[in-house]
């Protein structure tokens, strides 16, 4: 057997980012209805596609920057960039979610890299991207590190998640960090 082939890591599939459309609701449910994916999110998993459709309509479509992470144009997750409120338009926070079957393939890292580039190009005045990951979510922390984010510290009891206050790790990526 070819020794190199045996030890090669599987390649990350080619991914693209695009805006959501309403007909993506079924794909959306593949991660939004999964408690393994929503475990570190504020929301509970969706049961009803009608609720998911309402969320796409009222939250995703009008959002300043929300994209579907796609393989062969089929959404397998989503990533969003939310500018800070008020005068701090130089700062925005990133969130992302991926269907469970697509974890561990480098997809989230790749989506982040594409998003960092697009966000600094498209959002005026943007200087700082930030993201927080639960201390008990090392997979997400690794994704952020691999994408080039710098860990700034652990923020104790920072947010309430499903009835409990959680310690979160804060990461940032500055426009000057881009290589």
């Amino acid at each position: 057997m070819n020794h190199d082939q045996k030890h090669q890591k599987p390649k990350t599939p080619t991914i693209t980012l695009r805006k959501f459309v309403l007909s993506d609701v079924d794909a959306f449910m593949s991660w939004a209805a999964d408690p393994r994916v929503t475990r570190f999110q504020r929301r509970d998993p969706y049961d009803d596609p009608a609720d998911a459709l309402a969320y796409i309509t009222t939250h995703i479509l009008p959002h300043p920057w929300y994209r579907a992470i796609c393989i062969n144009n089929t959404p397998v997750g989503s990533i969003s960039v939310k500018p800070a409120a008020g005068e701090d338009q130089h700062r925005a926070s990133i969130g992302y979610r991926l269907a469970y079957d697509y974890w561990g393939k480098g997809i989230a890292t790749e989506a982040l890299k594409l998003t960092i580039k697009a966000a600094f190009e498209e959002l005026d005045h943007l200087e700082r991207l930030e993201a927080i990951a639960d201390v008990d979510n090392p997979a997400s922390q690794r994704v952020l590190e691999k994408a080039g984010f710098k860990k700034e510290g652990v923020l104790r009891k920072y947010v309430r998640l499903k009835g409990e206050s959680r310690d979160m790790v804060m990461f940032s990526f500055l426009v000057s960090d881009a290589v």
Partner: protein, 170 residues
């Protein structure tokens, strides 16, 4: 010194005392607000911003208002945390008054504000005075948030400090 620093609710009659430092450029330099140039404007802020505030106190030294301190909670999923802010007349800097005010605040704010578990404070990397106040009051430095905040037109690195309800009072 300790008994000489007290906290109490603000009332409109405090306007003259508060105006003394609110109109001082040295004081407003590190604050989000610009130096006040009219008592009318300050009175308005006291009516709309200070008196209805969820947790705001006047800092008194020997019974006289010399500053203010506030804890502003976030909402929704973030309601377990609140931001500390304080301001002190410049002639009273360097006497440990702000530190005493912060300690007095930490003694009661977790009981006063429902759901509160974390008090945090954002301090400019160059504001060494305020960094010392927080460190002496028992806050932990969480980290430096790079280019976090626009302060009077300039983007600044800020140090984030926190005090959790279970942390020991010093």
């Amino acid at each position: 010194m300790d008994e000489e620093v007290t906290l109490r609710l603000c009332n409109l009659a405090d306007v003259d005392d508060l105006y003394e430092f609110a109109s001082d450029d040295k004081v407003s330099a590190w604050c989000r607000w610009d130096t006040y140039t009219s008592k009318e404007d300050l009175l308005n802020y006291m009516k709309t911003g200070m008196i209805p505030h969820p947790w705001m106190r006047v800092i008194c030294y020997r019974g006289r208002p010399v500053g203010s301190i506030s804890v502003t909670p976030y909402t929704g999923a973030d309601r377990c945390r609140a931001e500390l802010g304080y301001v002190l007349a410049s002639q009273f800097w360097g006497k440990g008054i702000a530190t005493k005010a912060v300690k007095l605040t930490l003694e009661t704010v977790f009981k006063d504000l429902k759901d509160l578990e974390r008090v945090e404070a954002l301090v400019d990397v160059n504001n060494f005075g305020s960094q010392k106040v927080l460190e002496k009051s028992g806050f932990t430095k969480d980290g430096v948030l790079r280019r976090f905040w626009i302060h009077k037109g300039r983007v600044r690195d800020m140090i984030l400090y926190s005090f959790i309800s279970t942390d020991p009072l010093v």
